[in-house]
């Protein structure tokens, strides 16, 4: 007979080690899944987790991609972690990402063909504002009308996708594009391009070769969030609002302010992540330039234990599965969606293992606890 006994406080040792155990269990379960698909599980796991970083053939190409993929994930996940800690669930980051990208791109393209160095900073601000405004819809509806922010923020993703489709096919379409959908290319036009500061310097093992401004913004966000949670009263209030809402209220933390703050910050970061993507790696607004970073960032936030440093590592790991997944698709014909299922599995194992940090496992029929 196995019994679970609630711990007075969550175990720190388990909280730190469960993400690693979850990754190992996911590799095993994922290996079984790949075996069921008729692939050699060891080879697939090696191609996903080892080859992008260390294989002689692919590392030169794959290494710079790591930060390119991890950047938006980390940026969005840092924003989400604020809300998740406060018990405010913004799961519509994908929508805020799209709207941020649209606002930033629209701002940049409205000055076309100017190449003024002021345009890109303006696009960044437009991206921040776009994401914030889109996130303010669930925030205000929650405060004023008591609606569930989970449902509203998620439903707004589909609204944002509809707006994106209309932008790509009509009001932001490239006038010189022979009628093809998609905006002008932002990344190939001085003024709207997302600069790559270390391009061609060949430093740091190649990892920073393609690191655009958004990657550095993501790192700044990690540091800012770390300071916020460790040193600042606001970070403490966010944690308090999540763990003891009543106590937070009595100590003068306004729940409405928390909602606006958490949704606003996560919206702003998601929006600016979208802008960096569309002006850099994606290059232009297309119907499907968004690839689901807003949803994967939810996994990143949990895998990182809602801790800034954890999110940094989780973002890198998740980026690795994207790059390794593409490699596995190319080399071993592993279907693309297998990686998505693999990422979902990781979140399951992580949540399942949480029981170990919150409860003590006891064997045998013990007496009254």
């Amino acid at each position: 007979m196995i019994r679970l006994e609630k711990r007075p406080t969550p175990s720190r040792a388990w909280a730190l080690s469960t993400p690693i155990i979850a990754v190992i269990l996911t590799m095993i379960a994922g290996g079984l899944m790949f075996a069921a698909l008729g692939k050699d599980p060891f080879e697939v796991i090696r191609v996903i987790f080892w080859d992008p970083l260390f294989s002689e053939r692919f590392a030169a190409f794959s290494r710079p991609q790591l930060l390119v993929k991890a950047g938006p994930l980390i940026l969005i996940a840092i924003g989400l972690s604020l809300g998740f800690r406060a018990g405010i669930w913004n799961i519509g980051a994908e929508g805020q990402y799209i709207i941020g990208a649209l606002c930033g791109a629209a701002f940049g393209l409205s000055f076309y063909p100017s190449e003024s160095p002021l345009i890109f900073p303006g696009m960044v601000i437009a991206g921040l504002l776009g994401g914030t405004l889109w996130a303010m819809i669930p925030a205000l509806l929650k405060i004023k009308a008591n609606t569930n922010e989970i449902l509203v923020s998620l439903l707004l993703v589909y609204v944002a996708e509809a707006i994106l489709a209309s932008a790509a096919t009509s009001w932001l379409r490239n006038p010189d594009g022979q009628g093809f959908p998609g905006s002008r290319n932002l990344s190939r036009h001085a003024g709207t391009e997302n600069p790559i500061p270390l391009e061609g310097l060949d430093v740091l093992g190649g990892f920073f070769d393609l690191a655009h401004v958004g990657i550095f913004a993501a790192m700044a966000a990690v540091i800012a969030a770390y300071v916020l949670f460790q040193k600042h009263l606001l970070g403490y209030q966010i944690k308090l609002a999540g763990q003891a809402p009543r106590a937070a209220k009595f100590s003068g933390v306004s729940p409405a302010l928390m909602v606006v703050l958490c949704l606003g910050v996560s919206g702003a970061l998601a929006g600016v992540a979208g802008l960096f993507e569309v002006s850099g790696p994606a290059g232009q607004i297309t119907i499907d330039f968004n690839v689901g970073y807003g949803f994967t960032a939810i996994i990143v936030a949990f895998l990182g234990r809602l801790h800034p440093v954890g999110i940094l590592f989780a973002g890198l790991l998740m980026a690795l599965t994207y790059i390794g997944g593409e490699l596995a698709q190319l080399l071993l014909q592993v279907p693309g969606p297998a990686i998505q299922a693999f990422q979902g599995m990781l979140l399951f194992f992580l949540l399942a293992l949480d029981v170990l940090s919150n409860y003590r496992v006891r064997f045998g029929r013990g007496g009254a606890a």
């Binding site: 009308a145 996994i299 693309g336 693999f342 009254a368």
Partner: protein, 306 residues
């Protein structure tokens, strides 16, 4: 011009999947569990149903497979939230993300594959009756099952001992536990029921409404089902009203897109989601009333101490 009769027929068809999923989720939430994985369970139902229909040629087996697919996903959720006491919001999200990925993986190569026609339950002749024929007598068996399920869910929850126990567990799990009810077991049954209903809705989507498998084909239907439960204030009858409202808007906007009326396509595409948000706002704004109807233990983890 838009023909009102075909519009109503389309409305009923479009609303069936969300109606089924919402009824399932209503029972789950009545038992005090918030499963945000409806979208993941629906898409698994859609893909499992489609694959079995394609492989066996039997619609009956296909619908059973759809329900099994949804229930299997729900089983993962049940184990995690009820036995391993994980956070229900996070686990539900994980279920959706995993379900979308797994369904896409299972469905590789099935897009555009042939599936058998699903026979209508009522004889052809009845459908020729003017107005009533097409509106009420020409639907698929699953649509009638969905309507019947509204009454069944309402009756069971309101007038049977089983329903009373489900509601008791959802209102106060500690009290229900003290009375000797198996809280975890009852909640697991409710979760599995919810999964099977969502799976059936998904199978309806791929086998009857779209008649194809398309990656990500649920397109938020699971989330709309979740919103309908809130909109309906946890009352089965009102779920039907909400589902028809959603189905009506969705059917209308599809028809408007083919007419010459000058409305932006983006607005039409977004309209079912916007309307869902709008009714959510209407229903939630009365704080006292909203709190009165929601099951008191909704989303709270139960752990029997001692």
């Amino acid at each position: 011009m838009i023909d009102p009769i075909t519009l109503i027929v389309a409305l009923v068809t479009i609303s069936t999947p969300v109606l089924l999923a919402a009824l399932g989720e209503l029972v789950v939430e009545k038992s005090g569990v918030l499963n945000l994985g409806v979208e993941g369970m629906m898409i698994m139902g859609a893909v499992c149903g489609f694959i079995v229909a394609n492989q066996t040629g039997s619609p009956t087996l296909a619908f059973i497979a759809g329900m099994a697919g949804g229930a299997a996903m729900a089983a993962i959720f049940a184990v995690l939230t009820q036995f391993l006491m994980s956070n229900q919001v996070a686990t539900g999200l994980a279920l959706t993300l995993f379900g979308l990925g797994l369904a896409a993986l299972l469905g590789v190569g099935y897009e555009g594959q042939p599936i058998p026609d699903v026979a209508k339950p009522l004889p052809e002749a009845l459908r020729t009756i003017p107005i009533i024929g097409p509106i009420a007598l020409g639907h698929d068996l699953v649509t009638y099952i969905a309507i019947a399920a509204i009454f069944a869910v309402w009756y069971v929850l309101k007038h049977t001992r089983t329903g009373l126990i489900i509601r008791a567990v959802g209102e106060n799990h500690d009290a229900a536990h003290a009375l000797g009810y198996k809280v975890i077991r009852i909640r697991c049954m409710a979760i599995l029921f919810g999964g099977a209903m969502a799976g059936l809705g998904g199978a309806f989507l791929s086998l009857i409404y779209v008649e194809n498998w398309v990656q990500g084909m649920t397109a938020g239907a699971g989330w709309i089902a979740l919103a309908l439960v809130v909109f309906a204030a946890w009352k089965p009858g009102r779920v039907l009203f909400g589902a028809w409202l959603f189905g009506g808007i969705a059917a209308l906007q599809l028809r408007l897109q083919t007419t010459e009326i000058n409305v932006p396509v983006a607005l039409l595409d977004a309209s079912p989601y916007l309307v869902t948000i709008f009714v959510l706002v209407l229903m939630s704004s009365d704080r006292a009333k909203a709190a009165l109807n929601a099951p008191a233990a909704l989303g709270k983890t139960f752990h029997a101490s001692g």
